[in-house]
Symmetry: C2
């Protein structure tokens, strides 16, 4: 099939998606992986565990796309109706798949180590429509299934994220690239800070006007920063890469004053990369963020190379006892003050013997505000052994978002200090 | 309109949703809020910033639902085409809305405090189709818009989460309840731990067989725990509540041995609630979770009542210097050992003068494993001043999931210790 016509739809199944009880992260993963192999996603749709709604979604999405990826609805319980539906939709009957049964038995005996014998409902997970190709799921009991109809591919995968991911990477992507001639899609993303979306767009008016027609620019604002993403699509890989590289170089020169990094990395990875390059270490002293800055830093594999540790001093007592903030400072200026974060950052650097430190103290809400310190007031200090930089922020959001904004902005201040030092 | 026919579709717009660059949290929020007012969500769909795709989505979703909620595509930059499209779709023309223009001007001058004058593209945000009702957006520059067609309501909201949330709660929900006679939907959710989905389902065979036809049971497995959710729908509020309460009481008795709490609360809120009730405090000593347990505890507003602080000891050095784990223990048993987490938990309790402590040390991957300690090996200790409970886990997932599982299971061990003490 020609690459012009390849596109995918993602169907996620489950009532929990329609009452908002879970956030759908599967679709984002599937979309990312399809993009890497040049398959644009046309539509994403979520429907409940309802026969007609699933049936209609299959009908409709196969009008839009020739690759349909389905997740969810394959569990061992009565609310999951996807497998019998797929069986009927593709005109087959359910049969026991011996290889899957052996695998399910093995999992229960050797991996889950259940003392009980295999239940009938667990055995049923090894039943598949006789019109599908079984895709072995090493990570769980529900197998993946591939159906073909009118030249279109339908993949059914369990909704458990790590099982779906394994099936995508082990089976689905390979089958798609074997069956379809896909287009080449290239993305280039850079991160900016300190300039709003409108003002960036103003800087980029002539850049956008001169973009080739097969390259698109997108603005992705988040946490007071804006990512800029170029996307190029076409059939000639070399031509696409050369065109997007040229546009990306131009883009970087347009926004050079605001650019943090010319990669699609979160702030914690940017900081981690810098520390690793410079062979420096960091510790954090956190009050209002409650460990979130430490958590962000340690989500990066290999962060033990530069991250030593933290003191989370949520109470006055811990600020005094563990971070040695003088009682006089806390009494005179309060916990949310420039003086307190200065003491916190200096002391965590000496306690943990690091090159750099970050300290934050603030009021995240909804409670805790005082007349002169409204919710969202945050003091941040970043330091090395010679220099301390402090900054006061006012965030205007809810608790969760205020914590996230504090963390990302504190890491950005640290980044600036490291860059200025070199 | 009768309650039998009310249902909603959610349309999210943006290329970033189709390349997986952002995870859609807006849909979950909107779905939750609609459920509270008795409006079931029929379908959720995501499409790119593509004229025909948005147009088709409006056509299709208005076949399924009489309330259509649209988010995204309203920013000040060229990739956002939703407003002109809505204008054409509903047969209007763009006009300047003076009240919105005043609001945008106010925001730039007094809230964003921009030194620059208002840009043309910012002014354009105040333009709206003359066929819509403007819904004032106090949180941002892009107003909400309401269109009516053939008795159906179409709401357009910006994609920025806190702006969308404000518009939902301030305008959208009220308008829906004024225009439609909605059904009553009630949910009851409980959390179980320690029993797999299949085995719970086995216990619940006769419970499910006897459920009234207007009540559904759903299994929501996550982090090795399973939430069980009952949903009842109907037109008589009292009858619905009485029926679901009766079924919920029965459900609780069926799963009483596995039940953690009979509310839809995350583990960190369950632990927080217990600590607050018992007037006890807690501190954490974290290695492999890098502050994630502290972060979970402090996402709960009011956690300063029971959470004192943490030492995140990512390196050996910090384990020795700040948590006083004896060098001999680390050398003899290693950082990932029962002996080390015992020392960590005892010392963090005495350092931070708390009633309870939690300590974790493990290998989250992808690197760091040794022949006898594969990736996913974790030691957890929870303690009060008299008693220490330790447990070894083996998680089989990626770094992010291993961190999350460690945190939730450590908090569950703490919960058990607190419950056993009282």
């Amino acid at each position: 099939m020609s690459s012009n016509t390849v596109s995918a739809s993602i169907i996620t199944i489950g009532d929990e998606l329609l009452i908002g009880q879970v956030i759908d992260t599967n679709s984002a993963f599937i979309a990312q992986e399809l993009n890497k192999i040049g398959v644009p996603v046309k539509r994403r749709i979520a429907v409940g565990d309802v026969w007609d709604d699933i049936w209609n979604a299959l009908d409709e999405e196969s009008k839009y796309s020739n690759i349909i990826l389905i997740t969810g609805g394959l569990g061992p319980t009565a609310d999951d109706i996807t497998k019998p539906l797929l069986c009927k939709y593709f005109g087959g009957k359910l049969v026991m798949d011996e290889a899957t049964l052996q695998h399910v038995t093995y999992l229960f005996e050797h991996v889950f180590k259940r003392p009980m014998p295999l239940l009938e409902r667990n055995k049923k997970q090894a039943e598949v429509p006789d019109v599908c190709t079984v895709l072995k799921n090493e990570k769980g009991t529900a197998p993946g299934m591939l159906f073909e109809k009118d030249g279109k591919l339908f993949f059914s995968m369990p909704g458990v994220p790590h099982e779906m991911k394994w099936l995508m990477q082990k089976h689905v992507l390979q089958i798609i690239t074997q069956k379809f001639q896909t287009a080449f899609i290239e993305h280039r993303t850079l991160l900016t800070a300190g300039v709003g979306e409108s003002f960036l767009a103003e800087k980029l008016v002539s850049f956008e006007a001169n973009l080739p027609s097969n390259i698109k620019l997108a603005y992705l604002p988040n946490y007071g920063m804006v990512r800029l993403r170029l996307t190029a699509i076409g059939n000639n890989k070399e031509a696409i890469q050369s065109a997007i590289n040229q546009s990306f170089t131009s883009l970087k020169s347009y926004v050079k004053d605001a650019m943090v990094i010319d990669e699609d990395l979160p702030m914690e990875a940017v900081v981690g990369k810098l520390l690793k390059e410079k062979n420096k270490t960091v510790a954090t002293a956190e009050s209002c963020t409650g460990g979130y800055i430490a958590h962000l830093l340690t989500t990066i594999a290999g962060s033990s190379d530069y991250y030593e540790g933290s003191v989370i001093s949520y109470s006055y007592k811990v600020k005094e006892d563990s971070l040695h903030v003088p009682n006089a400072t806390l009494t005179k200026y309060g916990a949310v003050s420039e003086e307190t974060v200065k003491a916190m950052v200096q002391n965590v650097i000496s306690l943990m013997k690091t090159d750099y430190g970050v300290a934050v103290s603030g009021i995240m809400g909804p409670g805790g505000e005082t007349p002169d310190k409204p919710v969202g007031t945050v003091w941040v200090a970043v330091a090395d052994k010679k220099k301390i930089v402090t900054r006061k922020f006012h965030f205007r959001f809810d608790r969760k978002k205020n914590i996230e904004l504090t963390a990302v902005n504190a890491l950005n201040l640290l980044r600036q200090l490291i860059v200025d030092n070199h």
